[in-house]
Amino acid sequence: MVLGGLYALFAVGLTLIFGVLDVINVAHGEFFAVGGYLVFAALVLLHLPPAAGVAVAGLGAFLLGLAVYPLLIGPLKRRLGRRPAGSLYLVLTLGLSTFLQSSLLAVAGGEYVRVPPLVSGILEIGSTGVSHQRLLVVTVAALLLAGLFAFLRWHREGLAVRAVAQNPEAAQAMGISLTRIFVLTLGLGAGLAGVGGALMAPLFNVYPAVGFPLTIKAFAITILGGMGNLVGALLASLIIGVAESLVVMAIPSQWQNGVAFVVMIIVLLLRPQGLLGRATSR
């Protein structure tokens, strides 16, 4: 469930960005890494309390995400006009990914960074125990995702995000600024990844490329859930998280990272649109 919660925070943000902007954000993992480094800076260097550290990480990644559209995607979109982008956004965000990794390397160095647990203690359940840190990951992920879904369901700007995802031209006709929604969506997606990075930092070592493997796995989760489908991404995250945890009980752990892709391939062969995707999309 811990892995599922992490994947959900990460993949739902990635899926939201794809659904609204039609952009596969290869740099998504770097927001996760930024979150990890920010929580390290907040806790270890500035001695802030853990909750403030997580908030700093989420806010920092959110602000960084806000800058991506006006600085990168927007200018390219304007230059392209009505011409199809093809794989240009993929290349653009790959460039951003490399730039952010290099920046983290330059600022923080290539050494692994260890972040102390945000909470200590173990919850005993029968003969086994679960660390409070892992429970915190699951709880915060669940709360944040519930908040995101509530925002999209009931808030004025959340409805606008959904409207743009479904029909950008019609959304404009309702007075919605596409630029505003694109900026907000990238900020939200990045913020979720940043919080994910902050929560997982005590469980993993933090290094500049820590988020990249997660990005690749999140692509598999996004495809598995159905491209652009948030509920599908959530469901797929939980399936992959639980499958990865269970499979290491039966086979060597080296196979763990391949589980997501094996499940993705099987589902794609049986149901090419993914679990909750539609047969055709815009």
């Binding site: 606008a160 409207a163 006709a173 007075g175 919605i176």
Partner: protein, 242 residues
């Protein structure tokens, strides 16, 4: 109220409109007709800011609309209903109307505007939690109209409101159009169904190959043998009543 003069526009380098002009006086219904590919929908999209004109002027009460985005033009009181309705299919009826009121300033204003719309379209109050995609074709077109009314527009641009509708739904949609006009809204309607548009329009423009081919009242159009023969004539696909 709304004036278009010498408009040249199109897609990329492809010029569709080659100097089209029209006038939509306050409180009137103007019909825009012509053969397929004449540039009717391109004209509406250019007025509403989806396309940037190559040349020409578009003004609303003297203010230029050229260079404004659709969301900015909408905030000036211009509504647009796309040919297929442009509903948010995965949202409920109520959510579609809420998005229609996105630009309204306060919750109170939005609530009052939604009440007005529900009063005008009681069916949607009953079906407010129903997904928009589950409505019939005619109901979807009516919902698209209702959604455009939430902001209480002064001008409505309608792109083929009767397209792909069964005859009884076309009557309903046009009854709504008449009612909207009686409430003071000016409507510019692109339409293939010539008979219907001539029954409601105060003035008609015929476009051909991106240029004005006729400008007059429905009665004048009916009296013009040349226009009827060339663009709408008897025996042709448009078939207007003489």
């Amino acid at each position: 109220m709304l004036e278009v003069a010498g408009l040249r526009s199109g897609y990329g380098r492809l010029e569709i409109l080659r100097g089209a002009s029209l006038r939509l006086p306050a409180g009137s219904i103007v019909g825009l007709i012509g053969p397929n590919g004449a540039g009717k929908s391109t004209l509406l999209k250019t007025i509403f800011g989806y396309l940037r004109p190559f040349a020409g002027a578009i003004t609303l009460e003297g203010r230029s609309l050229v260079g404004l985005r659709p969301d900015q033009i909408m905030q000036l009181g211009v509504g647009f209903v796309a040919q297929a309705g442009g509903l948010f299919a995965d949202m409920t009826v109520h959510e579609n109307l809420l998005v229609g009121g996105y630009s309204l300033g306060s919750r109170g204003e939005l609530r009052a505007a939604l009440e007005d719309v529900y009063a005008r379209f009681p069916l949607f109050r009953e079906r407010r939690q129903q997904p928009a995609a589950s409505l019939s074709g005619g109901e979807q077109r009516a919902l698209a109209l209702a959604r455009a009314l939430v902001i209480r527009p002064r001008v409505l641009l309608l792109d083929e409101p009767s397209a792909a509708l069964a005859p009884r739904f076309i009557e309903e949609v046009y009854e709504t159009i008449r009612a909207l006009n009686r409430s003071g809204i000016a409507l510019l309607i692109v339409e293939q169904n010539v008979e219907m548009i001539l029954s409601v329009a105060h003035r008609v423009f015929v476009l051909d190959l991106g240029r004005n081919a006729f400008d007059g009242t429905p009665a004048e159009l009916r009296g013009s043998d040349r226009i009827r023969r060339l663009y709408l004539g008897e025996g042709s696909r448009a078939g207007i009543p003489a």
